[in-house]
Subunit: 438 residues, 2 copies
């Protein structure tokens, strides 16, 4: 089955950042068959479906390297409370999070990402089996990590019960075309060293990713300094948890030695600038990480922390925060930021040979961003338009693994109204309990 996308400004995001200002992309089944200028476009008679891009910017599907798709119910709840985590999140998850609620939240969150041009994401939450089901139904590409934490949770009666959950969850989804199961210890300070080691062992046994919040919280750093005279990265090193399988989320507070350790062990970093700064935690040393060739991608964090699941918001915040941190308006030109949202994320997830750029032989994960809305003119630099002007509402069409999931800004096979209604139905008890805590 061949599909031709024509009349688009192609940003391939290949190593040379090749552009085709008037270009085409040919899809064969789930793969990119060819990319080039319209003057070399294939004969339209040899194609089953033709998509006129109408001068949209065509870019690789964006990669969200850190989120919690089960947490849509928490959005706009207690954003500005200093004690939000312990006042709302932990207790409401304990009391009200069910498999059904997580599943419907997951579908809604995936719909939101697709509509925003995010075609691949890495998740950390509970009930990951239900979230895998949701991901499968919605047709997104994902790495899904079951959370492990040192108290009983909504999906486990005992501390570190996620380890047991993962024992059945991981093998079940190991050979899925779009889904990779993973294990996700919550943080270095919210797990016993034994549980962390067991999570590492599972990731080695199944050769799957491990993801964890690392160096995010001031009390996390205090804990390891006070008890072990270590940083949390040094602690993770001491128990053998640093490896190329680890996607370390946040990494806000790193020493030079921490950065050297991440480099030495080929750890990858999911950078959540929006969530980190909304919560006043600080700005991670991304420039220093990239100088050492440590892979960095962008992450939205969950909808209660980052609020939206689109990477346009993250790209804009990234630009302004890191230019300001470095006191250099020339730092991180827009094309580098688009790279972080695409190839950067692909590298973080170990998928750089499959996704992240528009090149022949890669999976057909493609996003068209329209340029007819008022904010998208003029277009001297399409990268700048994506970073500084665009928002999620400019996403016109989305293809994942060759399948179109968004057409003219609308989901192909679902309605948002229906997804929302299903979610709202499941949220009734949650909503009552949440309001009691306000």
């Amino acid at each position: 089955m061949k599909k031709l996308i024509k009349n688009v400004h192609v940003l391939t995001m290949d190593a040379e950042k090749t552009e085709y200002p008037n270009g085409y992309i040919m899809i064969a089944d789930n793969m990119i068959d060819a990319v080039g200028g319209m003057e070399h476009a294939p004969d339209e008679k040899a194609v089953e479906e033709i998509v006129d891009g109408k001068q949209a910017i065509a870019m690789p599907g964006m990669v969200n390297t850190h989120t919690h798709i089960g947490m849509i119910p928490f959005r706009s709840l207690g954003d500005d409370y200093p004690d939000r985590l312990r006042r709302f999140l932990f207790p409401l998850e304990q009391e009200c999070m069910t498999e059904e609620l997580a599943y419907h939240s997951g579908k809604y969150a995936i719909a939101e990402m697709q509509l925003a041009g995010v075609t691949t994401f890495m998740d950390m939450y509970y009930f990951e089996d239900a979230l895998a089901q949701a991901t499968d139904e919605m047709g997104s590409r994902a790495i899904l990590g079951e959370t492990v934490i040192d108290f009983p949770t909504c999906d486990a009666d005992t501390a570190h019960g996620g380890l047991d959950y993962a024992q059945s969850f991981i093998p079940k989804w190991l050979n899925h075309e779009l889904i990779t199961p993973a294990i996700a210890p919550h943080a270095p300070n919210t797990n016993s060293p034994e549980a962390l080691k067991e999570a590492v062992r599972l990731s080695e046994q199944y050769q799957i990713p491990l993801t964890m919040h690392v160096a995010e919280m001031d009390y996390e750093l205090d804990h390891f300094r006070d008890t072990l005279d270590m940083t949390s990265v040094e602690f993770l090193d001491s128990i053998g948890a640093l490896s190329e399988r680890l996607v370390a989320a946040h990494c806000i507070h790193l020493t030079d030695q921490d950065i050297d350790l991440l480099k030495k062990h080929h750890v990858k970093v999911a950078h959540c600038i929006g969530a980190n700064t909304k919560s006043a935690k600080g700005v991670a040393r991304i420039s220093d990480l990239l100088d050492k060739q440590i892979p960095v991608g962008l992450g939205t964090d969950g909808p209660s922390s980052g609020n939206t699941l689109d990477l346009f918001t993250q790209m804009k915040l990234f630009a302004n925060f890191h230019k300001t941190e470095l006191k250099d308006r020339g730092a991180f030109p827009a094309s580098e930021i688009v790279e972080l949202a695409t190839m950067g994320g692909a590298r973080v997830l170990g998928m750089e040979n499959q996704i992240g750029s528009l090149e022949s032989g890669k999976k057909a994960d493609i996003v068209l961003v329209e340029t007819c809305s008022v904010n998208m003119f003029p277009l001297f630099d399409p990268y700048a338009a994506l970073v500084y002007s665009a928002n999620a509402g400019n996403v016109q069409d989305v293809f994942i693994n060759g399948k179109r999931t968004v057409k003219d800004k609308v989901l192909m096979d679902r309605s948002i109204a229906e997804l929302r209604q299903n979610l709202a139905e499941q949220m009734k008890e949650f909503t009552v309990k949440a309001k009691e805590r306000l």
Copy 2:
């Protein structure tokens, strides 16, 4: 002529931040007649037009306190060049900016603001007479300041020619219902003291606002320190330029003494967090200004600096930057940020008795933000949804001075395609010359 807006979650932004979660707004001609809960809504038979808000959030029209509407042609041009101002902006304005180009840029920019819920703006540019014409045609509320600068410009053959231009521009527009003319010296260091004094004299003579970039550039501060051993605010004080008529844009670099001077002279501040941080200039001391009850509003800056002309982007950046600066996630809760975008801006422009809140007796400048898009659910806190989740694309309906200018996300009386075509037509020479400089 009476219009009833019904079924909306009204954020009045009055002194008590009164909300009507299921409310109505009654418009009589160009004024707000009544606001309240639906249980007290007037008889629909007594109304000429009924607008069903469909559970949208109704908020006061937003106030953009600093922009340059003639600069749409510069958007996405050289964003990341360190020497952007002198490499692109100044020379291209000299070479290619015409009255016609400014006019069509102005109409396009005003359309963009209306579609984003900005109903009032303060402008600083050239050819302000043409921009007043554009504003009049588009039906927005505005204060329009003719630029004065110490070199010949696109609309004046001599240095400080804006002063002459203003002599005819100001009286022509003094009695317009929606437009207030103003005088806009570019900056303290780009005008002679004499020219600045003459601008101040004009503002006194006509009792009109004065606006200026203040304490924005490091070389501006260096200049006054090196030549006069003063800050730029101290310099402005020394020549009598500080007054309640001054809207000082940016104010990034202020000393405690500067803040006291602004307070003493009742100066108002237009805070452009997006432009200031994208250009790596820094974060203004807004918390300190507000602690002294100095009026602060939000500004987008021009489309080449802030790229978009919506205040949703600014509200989100404001939240994340100021929380991070203050190391306090509880600082500036969302409702305070929505206040800056509405009543705050109204105070900065000296219009707090006319606009900025939804109260009986105020002008009917009203924005409905829909809540059916994927990013707007759930809605535990509508202020948080506006600040952390919404984007300009969520604006559903806009009323300015009682007249509906946006209906269901589309301009009422214009098409963006046509406004863009007219602008592109005028941009031909500009585009050629701009590309030569890349």
